[in-house]
């Protein structure tokens, strides 16, 4: 989704914005304590860095979530599915409920120091609100950029979503391994 634009400013970047959010982090902290909560955050970040490699980078930390940026939408979706698979493996094996919700939108944003801002960043932030723990939800703009050949990514249609502050509906899909 894009707002009305003229010539792209020099600090404009095109890419996939990924938001992660740990579900139940507050309750986990209450039950297990601050140290365990810090460890949970560290595990999330470590696993994401490991899977993401050079394909993307962490823009910033957002409480119990992260904002990531990928140049390539396909890599963003593929890495996010890999994050979830690793989170699930760790959650099942240990007492560490890494129930992470992930939302992705592809579009334009403006660099502001190490941060990125813009309408498309806001759309990505709204998408993660609708995700269930363990899900990767993507906008149609993201799904449309995932090339068919050579990937094992599939999509299930979730439907249109209206979002606060976003004037047009956004078609949402669930990304899955095909």
């Amino acid at each position: 989704m894009s707002t009305t634009r003229t010539a792209a400013p020099a600090n404009a970047v095109q890419g996939a914005i990924v938001f992660t959010d740990i579900a139940g982090f507050t309750e986990f902290t209450a039950v297990r304590g601050d140290e365990a909560a810090l460890e949970l955050l560290a595990i999330q970040e470590r696993l994401i860095r490991l899977e993401m490699g050079e394909h993307g980078h962490i823009v910033k930390e957002l409480g119990d979530g992260l904002m990531l940026w990928f140049e390539d939408a396909c890599q963003a979706v593929s890495c996010s599915l890999a994050f979830q698979e690793e989170f699930e493996r760790r959650s099942s094996a240990e007492d560490m409920p890494l129930w992470v919700r992930i939302g992705i939108h592809y579009g334009r944003s403006l660099k502001r120091g190490n941060d990125v801002i813009g309408h498309d960043v806001n759309v990505a932030a709204r998408i993660v609100d609708l995700a269930a723990p363990g899900e990767v939800l993507v906008s149609e703009a993201t799904a449309a950029r995932v090339t068919e050949d050579g990937t094992d990514i599939g999509f299930e249609e979730i439907g249109p979503a209206m979002m606060k502050g976003i004037p047009e509906p956004v078609q949402i899909y669930r990304a899955v391994r095909a």
């Binding site: 579900a23 139940g24 309750e27 986990f28 039950v31 297990r32 959650s91 099942s92 007492d95 409920p97 129930w99 609100d129 609708l130 995700a131 269930a132 723990p133 363990g134 899900e135 149609e140 799904a143 449309a144 068919e148 990514i153 599939g154 999509f155 299930e156 249609e157 979730i158 439907g159 249109p160 979503a161 209206m162 979002m163 606060k164 509906p169 078609q171 949402i172 899909y173 899955v176 391994r177 095909a178």
Partner: protein, 254 residues
């Protein structure tokens, strides 16, 4: 009296609204009636409206296993590619909107605030709201209902049922396919015929699962501090996987 529209064969209905109650009623009729009459109604040739054919592409790649286990998908080579389906789109910025459509119609609703109520028997149902409760009578196919804050009630789902509320109660009275439900703060009540897996994630709310037929679940309960009470004989008919931070689980049989 609202405005009336022809609904092409295989068409589905999409309702989009920023605020206000949405009521969609499936009944014995062949056309669609929209009330009040001044809502924007448009027939679109494909699901996305602006990128013809993308749903076709996505659907072919995204056809999932009917049993519904997430991540395990089966795509049959002899299944023909699905054609883009026409969509009758009803748009409303604010105020209530009421739509009457033929029984068995596939419906999707996107809303920001306001109650969404689907009355009657539908095909598949997809509803998302930011704040506002969701109520679905009967879907013969799959249901996907999700909201950020608000409760979700589904009376009967003949296919796979996915329900997610960040803060709100989730209640599914009967599901015949697989079921996936999650809440952050809020309880889950679910009745299953035991023909598909059931997976629940709650942070602090309680889960109550009722097995509606003579089936024996393989129960796996993982919780940091919650307790499980299972009054149903366990077996291997279907998987019941429940995870919580502090919520409890109660399983009962028919």
């Amino acid at each position: 009296m609202g405005s009336r529209y022809e609904l092409p064969a295989d068409a589905r209905i999409r309702v989009l609204t920023a605020s206000g109650t949405v009521i969609v009623t499936a009944e014995d009729r062949t056309d669609v009636e929209v009330e009040p009459a001044n809502r924007t109604v448009e027939l679109k040739e494909s699901g996305s409206g602006h990128r013809y054919g993308i749903l076709d592409h996505l659907h072919r790649r995204g056809r999932r296993n009917p049993e519904g286990r997430r991540g395990q998908r089966r795509v049959s080579d002899d299944e023909p590619p699905r054609q883009s389906r026409p969509v009758l789109e009803v748009k409303s910025k604010s105020g209530s909107v009421e739509v009457r459509c033929p029984r068995g119609t596939d419906v999707s609703v996107g809303a920001i605030s306001g109650r969404v109520n689907l009355v009657g028997t539908f095909g598949s149902v997809k509803v998302s709201t930011v704040s506002g409760s969701i109520e679905v009578d009967t879907a013969e196919g799959d249901v996907d209902a999700r909201c950020v804050s608000g409760s979700i009630t589904v009376k009967s789902c003949g296919g796979r049922c996915d329900v997610t509320s960040k803060s709100g109660r989730v209640r599914v009275e009967r599901v015949d396919g697989a079921a996936h439900a999650s809440t952050i703060s809020g309880g889950v009540e679910l009745g299953t015929s035991g023909r598909g897996e059931v997976e629940l994630k709650m942070v602090s709310g309680e889960a109550k699962v009722k097995v509606l037929e003579t089936k024996h679940p393989r129960v796996r309960f993982q919780s940091l501090s919650g307790k499980m009470l299972c009054e149903c004989e366990q077996g291997s008919d279907f998987d019941l996987k429940v995870r919580s931070i502090s919520g409890s689980l109660e399983v009962t049989g028919e």
